[in-house]
Symmetry: C2
Subunit: 348 residues, 2 copies
DNA sequence: CTGAAAGCGCTTACAG
DNA sequence: CTGAAAGCGCTTACAG
């Protein structure tokens, strides 16, 4: 029913081996240019695609990654600040990175901590079912993570941030936001800001996300501007509301780095509701470069690139039979041109 | 390197054909029980898994679905009400439905409307690359959808809601929330509520999501309680705030059906901030059964089941060489026991 | 009930 | 530069 390389060969008047060589770009010095052209023309005209499964069987490989999607929902005490945001870009990067290297990406999802599912998953891991595993997430289902690690199957994890509440895993691909945040803080200081606040959903000590804070703290200390009074712990949207309602905010800060864009948005809404202008009275800085909130100076975590790098490093590891390499990808400050001169001028 | 059925056969002292028959559960009346047991024991002991690619090549099939993930981000004027919610459950259902029938699920993602990507995607669709396509979403990238439809590849779409702003596609799997909403409205009426409001992010005429409103309107009309004054159009969180700040809410409604759980949450927050109690003064009803907001009476859209049914119907269509069947899955009212007697009593 | 043979579509030495 | 042969791991008639 489906076409095969034999059909192509017949039409081109060559052997099927010639077609195979041409399709695999191994024709160099083996097939005459005339034959090669003829074959390629027929392939193009018919839209022929070789049977990839047969090719993989013959080459004794499976060229397939398994993407483990963790549905285990974390307890979300900070649900006001969650956004679907750019989470799908990691997957996109993984898929495109794999595709470029001839690998497919299969999905396995994990909802329960069900023993059956663990079994089912493990049975789909390792050759000839899959050559390696990508974990996308923090990773919540640690028991399963360990089980796969113990299998000895090559694997890699992609995260968009470290978390002090989740274990450090390796190999891992993760963005490094420190330089981006440093750049933003320097920009604010250069504009004359002195009271640059930091807003997070929980205390920095127990924070999920210590990385985001690092660049801020370093740079503020360097400038002699660091002050614990500048930390605003807001576990919920209504905590922001209470702070704003309490008044005297203009004495407390003129710029504010937020844990993410969604939090920046809630601050902005609240401040504007109370009659402040943003920007104007305050510079509100986001984090994540969330497509839903494109109005803020923010930090792009390179989710797509992280996914792509993870796929590439994993595949390289599979090919060289080595542990895949870790990668730290530099995050990027975005929309720095929106830093506002007015928001600290009003205070002079 | 990897084990094959020949290795198993050798150990069991039988031919490789016998192993194949046993593994495919076609041993009935062909292999002696003794041999079958011996083979199965060795398979279990070694954890052997047959090479699925080889099996598929021999059987001339590919048993692989392609899941198209649409990253095309819609313009989100209603971003205050977006939640990552239960979006991943559809994928989980697809994967598990496919797995049970021996199919794998590959991912292809689509970020751009890039011509190259269209080409790349199309080249990965259709035997021998994939037997069918599942679209998950509304579907935003219509041009691509059409291209795949034109290919003649079997396909199916899963949505968790209809949308008057997006075209109707077929075949499709989609939940039907009308009965669930009817049940909730009846429950509220039975408790004595008369002013049952409906809150949406835009007017019902132009609504994205007409289905959610249907059951409400029908049942309210039936009870002679329908009134346009009971419709609250709140495009943003701050619109809710203004309504609550305007006061007199207890005269306007005693229960409120919201477009989704996130919106219910914002109403609750706002009402409580203004000194009302929820429940108590108001019954606030959600929609989506969003795991982030488990406190509301809500409508479970059966996302997992929708995904699973889509995979099953698509695979059935592939096997029978027919267009996959549409499916309408009944959504379910959840936590009805939380409907509150007090919220309308206070008004008597 | 069992084994030997043919074949799925492809790739890779190897002889001409 | 080209073709015939062997083989990846599996499945499926077919003869005993």
């Amino acid at each position: 029913m489906s076409m095969t390389i034999k059909d192509i060969a017949k039409r081109a008047g060559v052997s099927s081996q010639a077609v195979s060589l041409v399709l695999n770009e191994k024709a160099e010095g083996q097939i005459s240019t005339a034959n090669k052209e003829r074959i390629l023309n027929i392939v193009r005209a018919t839209g022929f695609r070789r049977n990839i499964n047969a090719s993989r069987v013959r080459r004794s490989c499976c060229e397939t990654l398994t993407l483990v999607i963790d549905n285990t929902f974390p307890v979300c005490e900070y649900r006001d600040f969650i956004s679907p945001g750019n989470s799908s870009f990691v997957i996109q990067g993984i898929v495109e990175g794999a595709l470029e290297l001839g690998f497919d990406v299969k999905i396995v999802s994990l909802s329960t901590t069900d023993g059956d599912i663990r079994e089912k998953l493990l049975s789909h891991i390792g050759e000839p079912y899959s050559s390696g595993v990508i974990f996308n997430g923090l990773y919540h289902n640690l028991e399963l993570y360990k089980a796969i690690e113990d299998c000895g199957v090559p694997h890699i994890t992609v995260k968009t941030h470290t978390s002090s509440r989740h274990p450090t895993v390796s190999p891992v691909v993760i963005p490094d936001p420190v330089n981006a945040i440093t750049e933003i803080v320097r920009g604010l200081i250069a504009l004359g800001h002195k009271k640059i606040g930091y807003s997070a959903h929980c205390g920095i000590e127990e924070s999920y996300i210590p990385q985001r804070f690092q660049g801020y703290e370093q740079e503020m200390r360097r400038a002699g501007l660091y002050d614990r009074e500048l930390l605003f712990i807001v576990p919920t949207a209504s905590a922001i509301r209470k702070l704003v309602a309490a008044g005297d905010l203009r004495e407390r800060f003129s710029a504010l780095l937020c844990m993410n864009d969604k939090m920046a948005w809630l601050w902005k809404e609240e401040l504007e509701y109370s009659g402040y202008s943003v920007p104007g009275d305050f510079d509100i800085i986001g984090y994540d470069n969330d497509p839903l909130f494109p109005e803020f100076v923010s930090v792009d975590l390179k989710a797509y690139e992280c996914g792509k790098t993870a796929a590439q490093n994993l595949i390289q590891g599979i090919k060289e039979k080595l542990t895949p390499q870790d990668a730290l990808l530099e995050a990027k400050a975005v929309r720095l041109d929106k830093l506002n001169k007015d928001s600290c001028k009003t205070r002079k």
